[in-house]
Subunit: 341 residues, 2 copies
Amino acid sequence: MSIKAVVYGVGAMNTIATRMLLEKGVTIVGAISRSESKVGKDLGELTGLGRRLDVQVSNDPHEVFERTRPDIAVIAVNSYMADAVEQLRTCAEHGVNAVTLSEEALHPWATSPEITRELDEIAKGTGATLTGTGHQDTYWVNIVAMMMGTAHRIDSVVGHASWNVDDYGPEVAGDQQVGKTVEEFHAWLDGATRPPSFGRNVLDALVADVGLTVKSVTTTTRPDVAQQTMFSKALQREIPAGQVIGFTDVDEILTAEGPAFNFEMSGRVYGPDDGDINEWEIKGEPDLVLSNGTVPTQVTTCTQLVNRIPDVISAPAGFVTVETLPRLRYRAFPLHTYLKG
Amino acid sequence: MSIKAVVYGVGAMNTIATRMLLEKGVTIVGAISRSESKVGKDLGELTGLGRRLDVQVSNDPHEVFERTRPDIAVIAVNSYMADAVEQLRTCAEHGVNAVTLSEEALHPWATSPEITRELDEIAKGTGATLTGTGHQDTYWVNIVAMMMGTAHRIDSVVGHASWNVDDYGPEVAGDQQVGKTVEEFHAWLDGATRPPSFGRNVLDALVADVGLTVKSVTTTTRPDVAQQTMFSKALQREIPAGQVIGFTDVDEILTAEGPAFNFEMSGRVYGPDDGDINEWEIKGEPDLVLSNGTVPTQVTTCTQLVNRIPDVISAPAGFVTVETLPRLRYRAFPLHTYLKG
């Protein structure tokens, strides 16, 4: 029997995911958005499918879950647990499994322990599974963890990734300090009460996977500066040479057992030759490297949100992180054919 | 309690694996070799550990298994099921789990169905698990299958790998037709009753993992020719320009459902700038690529032979192929700590 899904958030990412869900034989039984311009509209028309789905966007998640009793909620609303807790708690309370692309949800036990424990308890009580997935699932955690499995001894694991600020609209460009002077950037950095950098959650997942003990955690941030005049599509203006086009977070975890983990992630305005990269290097016996060339991060976020659904439905109840899920598989057939039992 | 292992075959690969096993807290209780120059010697001395292990190499596997009752046999003896069946059958009959680096054992159901069925039945009867692993486990199967899991639609999967004929001695160099003329190569190819190419087993594993139906299987082989004079370390002689330095197998599987799988593997004499490569490209939605730079194939063969042991001991009885095992993990702690239950 087809999997019943509710689309939670109707933005750019769930517009792509809606089509993918339908193409994988999932029945979309509901859609939730807070946006007044979307509520009451048909999901098919809103997501450009060119046909009605007879699914009206609602702003009342409780009513939608009560009425439709879905197998899974596909959440694409926000990035941090402080915000994501609202949607995840609603799913958990209704006993609805959930996948979310909220980056911190990848492995939030250390960065938002209280929220995560609360969600875990509610979900265990109702039998729901909550999982943060997206691009980071395979490319920043599981493919790295698998390659680590081919080492005899690991001294260090170092990753580099980047994303294009211009892909995510003016608000994110502002958050990334695009167009600021270097002085303004450092003033902001000194005063900023920033949420955790996503690299931290990635390294937490890798360290948890191999059962090591965290000895120290550091995050350092440096501005990325325009070398020549650049154009920010998100801000619709030129950024002169010498001004900030984003920044790079470097997260590092040292472990009591020895291996050091380091992840450098840049979010900046891209030039014409830039693309999203994913590069990892393991030092030890032997030395190992991995590169995925130019990665279509937005698409691989949606594909993993969708392809993880059978794993999440089949997983134990609670807040379940991706390094504990089975190795991801291509879904050649309708998603429900991959459910256990 | 420490895992008890028997080292089956005492050549270059098990010399490396012996040290790795010891460093991962495995107790080596026996060693088996047919080589008269090795029988009776101490495994520690033979493998250059610089100390005795008080494990005398024996040429009688039945006696060793009866006496030591190991948890696992680590087999590094040969490449093809027609030969590997001897060691695997002995393990299965004694109820001893086994990992082997025999390349065809990676997924031998289609290329050696009768032998594999026989081994599967014996192993199921005694409760043993038999698995073919090595470099191909992660780099040619599981990492590719994982990346496939990040695609929405796959049209084709294309892999390129290479290995250095000079790493494997004069016999293998002869098998790879090094030093032949192109005419001699084609005469050999036309008449050769070659065993299956390993690429076939790799593609069989990938296709099995996603549950697709094989429509056609083809293997084509082309000579690799020296562009300038090269030196073959294995043969200890120069190969003039125009002569054969090895060959490239191109295996292809077309599936009834659509996705095409293609793997090109070159075994040739390397020039100074050559290294083992592992490159994969997926065409579909989206397009995806993977490269592991220069891969230390021999080391990653040994690491996977060792690191897979907990998975194989914990797996169901029978002939179990690697795409069905859990995602490989780095073993930071002694191997027995990863056993279930």
